[in-house]
């Protein structure tokens, strides 16, 4: 009997049905290491899961990838829940992944929480210990991988904010065994030689395992001991590491760290300008205010009254002077009148007037002779006339 040949498709279909009928293969829980990982542009993930001896092809369709809490990549140890089935067209069997988790993650989480609690109790996260980040650092030290997007992002953001920025990159391995030792060494060296005014400790996103160096106790202690302020920017915004808790400032991303470490020079220049304007306005206001005060003061009674008073005084003095003048003049007049009267009276009494009328005064030795009895014959007597005197001798005295 000639056997009937079947087609390849029929065979593959047959095998597929066999496999699909196996309940155990419908829900396998398997662990292994990822290799040959490809994230297709359609959103599906293709990779190989392996251990020391064998490997199996895996596919994770886009719909299932939305449940992932990490980005799978080569070398990562994972736990997978999936279905083993046959890809008929390729004649290969593979795992169709429904869910994937990082292997050993439970242990890491436990270690993370324990260390976090321990360091928190010790006060390594205390706000009081956190140093101020300088707003205008001379130099920014960047501790990260020399290759990759992180350093480029930091340089881009920093130079955009300050075209004259001074960045010193200290290359460090950011994952893998021994990375923590290099990170500690870098922090210590930066401090020992005072190589910058601020440090950015940065790393791109990754699995908890990748970020693990930043969860190491020695790194935490080195950050705590650093005299140079440290900004941590490890992983994505949602990733928190021990380094983030100890650092003086935590930035959600490396780009954000660059923004926090470097002021925007344009902004600062605008601020300085606005200060200058405010100085000018304030001074102008002051001068204006002083001018108004001056004018107001000048207009006030305090300044007006004294001049008025002085004028009044002057007026008083003038009036008094005038009064005095009048009084004095009156006095003079009075005196003159009195004098004239006296003189007039004197005049009438004056013997001279009588003399003018033809009378004479007879004197002897200065004595007025009023009687014949006062003279004898031959006496020398003086006859006073109004215009002179005559000396004569008495010839005869008769009664």
């Amino acid at each position: 009997m000639k056997p009937t040949a079947i087609t390849v498709s029929e065979l593959n279909k047959y095998i597929k049905n066999k496999v699909d009928a196996d309940e155990y293969l419908n829900n396998v829980y398997i662990k292994g290491e990822i290799s040959n990982f490809k994230h297709h542009y359609t959103g599906h993930m293709y990779f190989t899961l392996k251990d020391e001896k064998s490997l199996i092809k895996c596919v994770m369709f886009k719909a299932a990838t939305s449940t992932l809490t990490f980005m799978p990549k080569d070398g990562m140890k994972v736990l997978i829940l999936g279905t083993v089935s046959i890809y008929e067209a390729g004649g290969v069997y593979q795992i169709y992944c429904k869910a994937m988790q990082e292997d050993g993650i439970g242990d890491l989480y436990k270690a993370f929480e324990e260390l976090k609690e321990k360091l928190e109790k010790e006060g390594l996260f205390d706000k009081a210990h956190k140093k101020k980040i300088p707003i205008m650092p001379n130099t920014i030290g960047v501790l990260t991988s020399q290759t990759g997007a992180v350093i480029r992002d930091i340089i881009n953001v920093s130079t955009r904010r300050n075209p004259n920025v001074y960045i010193k990159l200290y290359p460090i391995p950011v994952q893998g065994k021994g990375a923590e030792i290099k990170i500690v060494e870098a922090i210590e060296t930066m401090n020992k030689y005072k190589l910058s005014d601020v440090i950015i400790l940065a790393r791109g996103g990754g699995s908890l395992e990748d970020l693990w160096p930043f969860n190491e106790e020695i790194v935490a202690r080195a950050i705590y001991a650093s005299e140079i302020p440290i900004i941590s920017a490890v992983g994505h915004e949602t990733d928190f590491t021990i380094a983030d808790f100890v650092a003086d400032l935590r930035a959600p991303t490396p780009s954000a760290a660059a923004e926090l470490a470097q002021v925007d020079v344009k902004e600062i220049e605008e601020k300085i300008n606005s200060y200058r304007n405010r100085f000018k306005i304030a001074l102008k206001k002051k001068v204006e205010y002083m001018r108004l005060r001056y004018e107001k003061a000048l207009a006030s009674k305090v300044f007006k009254e004294p001049t008025q008073k002085i004028n009044e005084y002057y007026m008083n003095i003038d009036i008094k002077l005038k009064n005095m003048e009048v009084i004095v003049q009156n006095k003079i007049k009075e005196a003159k009148l009195k004098a004239t009267n006296s003189i007039a009276r004197l005049d009438t009494l004056s013997p001279l007037k009588t003399l003018v009328r033809g009378y004479s005064i007879v004197e002897e030795k200065g004595k007025v002779i009023k009687s014949i009895k006062q003279v004898q014959e031959n006496d020398i007597i003086t006859v006073r006339m109004y215009d002179g005197r005559i000396s004569t001798k008495v010839q005869k005295v008769e009664e």
Binding site: P134, I135, Y170, V265, I272, F279, A282, K286
Partner: protein
């Protein structure tokens, strides 16, 4: 280090001077003094910003020695 400190101090000084001037409690002479001081400090700040030089370097550690190379 010096630039960092002086810059922050200067910015703080500018802020203080603005506040003092805007309060308007100083007499005219002191106001003018403060104004001049403020303008002087703002000039210094601008100088610091303008005189800095762009530099991006990579630190290389060999044993106990650090060398700096342009990137």
């Amino acid at each position: 280090m010096e630039r960092t400190n002086s810059f922050e101090e200067n910015m703080q000084n500018l802020e203080n001077i603005v506040q003092e001037l805007e309060k308007g409690e100083l007499n005219l002479e002191d106001s003018i003094k403060k104004f001049e001081e403020g303008i002087e400090i703002s000039k210094k700040c601008n100088e610091i910003l303008e005189n800095a030089e762009k530099k991006i370097t990579i630190l290389i550690k060999k044993e106990d020695e650090i060398t700096e190379e342009n990137m």
